[in-house]
């Protein structure tokens, strides 16, 4: 049964009935929480005076670190992130104090009345500066195979390069929010907008100094997350919990957009250096790359993100001699965090740009050079970290996509267009994605589910995954319905709640369906086993003799003997009978991904269960005089195994791609020389609008390539499509390059804003004058 269920909340979304944390007004006592944060990038706090603020009518409490009953700590992995600053602040946006007030206006007014006395200290605000000062946040990581230095020396051609990739703001439409409701004694209920309720529970318990069993965290849905609510949603939850604990009243924190952008971390910006060696046909022989990331002021997930950058540094290409080094540096900026792709995009961008350079250098078509270097089907199929690339879909994707996008014909047409037009230039690029699926931290690859059947035969499915728009619940509904043989309308997926399914991992790493789907399947298998005995009794009562347990089938809201399907028992009747026979109608399911391990020291292991693949061709047209460009056409072919839900998968592919396009094009983040974010609202931070999508967008799934060993042979889809946007990024570069007749390598970085494009074009024009004068 191919499920194409709609998003389970779709009808409520369109009628304004879907509830987000900020919509909850559960008690007339409910207060508004406000976070008071540092205006300086690095400073000693000499004094804080909030007497006047506290006396303001409507202010209930003001807290600083001294009022934290538990640990002043909210770092998810390394405990290096205070919940509220103590005597020193380390970035603009770091929380120092919390206000609880009757309403927002009072809270804002109270904030104005708080007096701080700071002593400003030196700050590190750029990655270059941090590298110069060697401010490593943790020891470097490396992966190597063969001897890259030696191979570089022996390669017929080689060059060096540097690439900057920028930060990216998540820009979830729903800013960070949490509602904390104190209960009896030490109990606290948190309505969170968190990708990781179990960790939210842990952090809240830690700051309140209570055990985890006192804290319940519930996540109904998020208004977008994209990694931004994997760890940093814990922060608002902890702050709200502290205020609720202090006032004994419910406290809601919903960050104002500008505050959210200033306070929270972003996609890590990287400054990468590389050397690449290749031969005359463009075969890569050696690659040495240093991936340097800006971790911000604390560790957060920076090391796992860096690790994923390392794992994807070679993307889809077999490189015999390779050395990959990763370093994360500490700066005085908000701690950077997870963002769709989780370091993968930053690692891949470098090799994709390098291959583009090779093609230009050899005057070859870049897509052909890519094809030449793809991992082999039988040989040349081992990754630098030792995992074999199996079930390689690169060639089938390449063949089908170059055909359906008419890549080679259009390449010629574009060359023709560029010869005819002086002030408009077109560019085209094809880029692949090979993305490893699993948490690279092996123990996180586990999930649980709780399936309850009620006496009327309806079912509630609880699982550890959270719904952030990706359609996980709709997919899980499809899985539960298929496994149980019940129509979806009799099944409800509940809000994610730590009291239903404990100790879950974040809904992240694209793994939500893989892990939770299997856990649900396992829970249902337990229930079906229990119910089969009852079914056999019932069928025998209805006159069937010698019914075998293995022949019992659950389908179409009924249960029957596969060999004698004419006698059927309606599911509600079965359930009622089971209840009366004292059979438990509730079961948990558990799943762990088999065989995942990784040795960090050796840089070897099997960090992924499988790879997801995709490929895109994009064409752009640039205005040579302003640097502006438009996206003419994109063709995408993506591998999701046997899709769990085609509509939802296509939605993930398109949405991920456009989000990647934003990162590659208009989404530039700037700070001033004091570490203050300049692009702190949508006024200056520009995510794509409807007019920024390609004029023609063809997206298709690679069909008939099932993925063995996963839930219904599907593949994860959340992150990989984001990196398809490199086709747009490099098409822009191709258009710039056309200004110089592809004779000059363009200056390039990411995002390729109109400013970058025009600057690069001007530089090419200057160089061309030099070439012509020689």
């Amino acid at each position: 049964m191919k499920s194409n269920l709609k998003h389970d909340s779709a009808i409520r979304h369109v009628s304004g009935q879907s509830v987000y944390v900020n919509d909850l007004q559960l008690s007339p006592m409910q207060l508004i929480g406000r976070v008071v944060y540092s205006p300086l990038a690095h400073a000693r706090i000499k004094s804080i005076d909030y007497t006047e603020a506290l006396n303001l009518k409507g202010v209930e409490t003001i807290l600083t670190f001294q009022d934290i009953p538990g640990a002043n700590q909210m770092g998810p992995v390394v405990h290096d992130e205070p919940c509220l600053a103590e005597y020193e602040v380390f970035f603009v946006g770091q929380a120092i104090a919390l206000i609880a007030a009757e309403n927002e206006e009072v809270a804002v007014e109270a904030e104005r009345l708080i007096r701080f006395d700071f002593e400003e200290l030196d700050a590190t605000l750029t990655l270059k500066d941090a590298i110069k000062k060697n401010l490593l946040i943790a020891p470097q990581r490396s992966i190597a195979n063969g001897d890259a230095d030696e191979a570089l020396k022996n390669a017929p051609f080689s060059f060096e390069g540097e690439l900057e990739t920028g930060a990216q703001e998540h820009w979830y439409l729903e800013t960070q929010s949490a509602l904390a409701i104190p209960g009896e004694g030490r109990e606290m209920l948190i309505h969170a907008s968190s990708q990781n309720p179990a960790e939210t529970q842990a952090i809240v318990a830690e700051v309140l100094g209570v055990s985890k069993n006192e804290i319940d965290v519930e996540v109904k849905r998020m208004g977008g997350a994209f990694g931004g609510k994997e760890t940093q949603a814990n922060h608002v939850a902890a702050w709200a919990a502290l205020l609720a604990n202090a006032t004994r009243k419910p406290v809601l924190i919903h960050l104002f957009r500008d505050d959210d952008q200033k306070i929270t971390g972003k996609r890590h910006r990287f400054l990468s250096k590389y050397s690449i060696g290749f031969n005359e046909i463009g075969k890569i022989l050696a690659y040495k790359v240093e991936l340097n990331s800006d971790a911000g002021s604390s560790t957060d997930l920076s090391m796992a993100i860096l690790e994923r950058a390392l794992f994807h540094a070679e993307n889809a290409y077999f490189i015999p001699d390779i050395s990959i080094i990763g370093r994360a540096y500490k700066t005085n900026l908000p701690s950077n965090t997870a963002f769709r792709g989780f370091g993968g995009p930053q690692g891949m961008a470098v090799i994709e740009n390098a291959i583009d350079r090779i093609a230009r250098f050899l005057k070859k078509d870049a897509a052909e050079v890519r094809n030449l270097n793809f991992y082999g089907l039988e040989s040349e199929n081992q990754t630098p970290y030792g995992k074999l690339v199996e079930h390689n879909r690169l060639y089938v994707l390449f063949d089908r996509l170059t055909a359906c996008s008419d890549y080679f014909t259009r390449r010629k047409e574009i060359d023709h267009f560029n010869n005819e037009n002086k002030y408009r230039k077109r560019g085209i690029a094809m880029t692949p994605v090979k993305f490893g699926i699993s948490f690279t931290t092996a123990f996180l690859n586990q999930a649980g589910a709780l399936v309850n059947i009620y006496k009327d035969g309806t079912i509630q499915v609880n699982h550890g995954g959270t719904e952030m728009g990706q359609g996980l619940h709709a997919k899980m509904l499809g899985v539960a319905a298929t496994e149980m043989g019940i129509s979806p309308e009799f099944i409800k997926i509940s809000a994610t709640n730590t009291s239903k399914v404990p100790n879950t991992s974040a809904t992240a790493a694209s793994s939500g369906s893989d892990l939770n789907g299997m856990a649900i399947k396992n829970a249902i298998a337990v229930l079906k086993n229990r119910l089969k005995k009852i079914a056999m009794d019932l069928l025998e009562k209805k006159g069937l003799q010698d019914v075998e347990s293995c022949d019992i089938e659950f389908a179409e809201n009924q249960v029957f003997d596969l060999l004698r399907p004419e006698v059927k028992i309606p599911f509600p009747e079965l359930i009622n009978s089971a209840y009366l026979s004292q059979v438990s109608l509730s079961a948990t399911g558990y799943y762990k991904t088999p065989g995942i391990y990784y040795d960090k020291e050796a840089g070897k292991g099997n960090p992924f269960y499988y790879f997801a693949y995709g490929m895109a061709v994009s064409e752009v047209e640039a205005d040579v005089l302003t640097g502006e460009y438009k996206l003419l056409r994109t063709d995408i072919l993506h591998d999701v195994g046997d899709s769990l839900n085609e509509d939802i998968d296509i939605g993930q592919i398109e949405g991920g791609f456009i989000q990647g396009v934003g990162w590659c094009t208009t989404e530039e983040i700037k700070w001033d020389n004091k570490g203050r974010l300049l692009t702190h609202s949508p006024d200056t931070y520009k995510i794509p609008t409807v007019n920024d999508i390609p004029h023609t967008l063809n997206v298709d799934l690679l069909r008939d390539y099932p993925n063995e060993g996963t839930i219904r042979k599907s593949k994860a889809v959340g992150e990989p499509p984001l990196m398809l946007a490199f086709s747009v990024w490099l098409a822009i570069k191709d258009a710039i390059s056309a200004v110089g007749g592809h004779r000059v390598e363009p200056l390039f970085s990411l995002p390729a804003t109109a400013e970058v494009v025009l600057t690069s074009i001007e530089e090419i024009k200057t160089k061309l004058k030099g070439l012509n004068n020689d």
Binding site: R12, G627, N691
Partner: protein
Amino acid sequence: MKKTGNSIRFLLNDSLTEIDFTQNPGLKPTTTVLNYLRSMPFYKGVKEGCAEGDCGACTVVIAEKSGDRLVYKSIDSCLVFLPMLHGKQLLTVEHLADGEALHPVQKAMVDQNGSQCGYCTPGIVMSLFGLSKNHRDPSMEVVKDALTGNLCRCTGYRPIVDAAHVCCKGEDHDKFSENKDEVSGKLDELCRDKTPLSIISHQQRYLKPLTLTDALAFRKEFPSAVIVSGATDVALRQTKKKEFLPEMLDISDIAELKYFKEDNHTYSIGSGLHIEDLRHHADGKLPAMKHMLDIFGSLQIRNLATIGGNIGSASPIGDTLPLLIAYKASIKLQSHKNERFSSIEDFITGYRSIDLFPDELITEVQIPIPAIGRIIKSYKVSRRKDLDISTVSGGFSLLTENGTIKEIILAFGGMAAQPIRAFKTENFLTGKPWTEAVIVEAMEILFKEFKPWSDARAEVGYRNLVARNLLLKFYEESKGQVL
């Protein structure tokens, strides 16, 4: 002058609603429509995404009378003060469905998988509702224009665009088309009384005249009141800067100021004309203006913003200003006893400052109808094409005679503290032939003529390059049109 008390009256969906601010501790005159709706338990469908009109999550639709017609406009509710609803119908996402039956717009969004996280969805649904009321079988351009003001971070927009095409197919038939006459009648009733509003509550004075005479009288009596004409700029002082606005003079709803007229020489535009209406009038008449207004903010912004407001805020990056300079526009300024005209260049005196006397209001913009042969073009270069503020903008005008430049105006936005002309470059060009060689020389002068700044949008170097290159672009686009 007769003034009414402290109440406003409007239709909230189907219900006649009266708000007496003095009786409502939670609602002050400048409470935004967004915050008003969200203060009630059953109207939380509308969402705040940015509180600055840049995301559209708070989109609602206003129905109002325009002559005999009932018109529907999508707007950003975060930028609208409550008294701006007076005499109108406010339509929210909760009201679209007919009982259990989804509105065609909502059904299309479900069928086409138009929602993922759902947070932007109510705003998008309202934009689509506005679209479906104004256009049947719209072109792709019209669809995208209706959605430009709604950011979605999940879907990549394609399914929403598909939904738009589906729900706008064929005849418009829904409960709103059925109840049109009834609503129309109710609104006529509400609008009959032209007595100005003078609300004094919550330490605020909010004046809302409905005639020009009353507006000018208020202006004289309360010269320090902030003038509101659309509020898309003024509202940000409250929503973003958390500024307290003690006195407001809201001239957004003065019907006398909403016109576009032409005689043999001049287009006369009422200062209260909404940018969206001006965009339609400009079509075919003022192509450079049309071009600029096509990428002015978003539909939600253009439905609120007025030409007078854009001029009055005198921003260095105001979209229409360089172009108005190129058009040699003049501004009509009226007080209760006088009227005078000022050229747009004289009128803007510096960074967000204008030559407006304390008792005056901008009432009209006059654009001389360009002579045959005069070439006028507008340019806006921004980080993102739509719903963005210009990095550099240009309004250029050229008059040639036998291939020689008789007059050229090169006005720029984003290059100085106010819209500014490139006089040096203009002087160099005047009297010279309109040829590439001359332009190339002029470009180097232009490159050094301004001292712009680096900011969140761009660095100095880029601004200078763009300003310089826009001249070449103007030359390229004018080739073949020059006499």
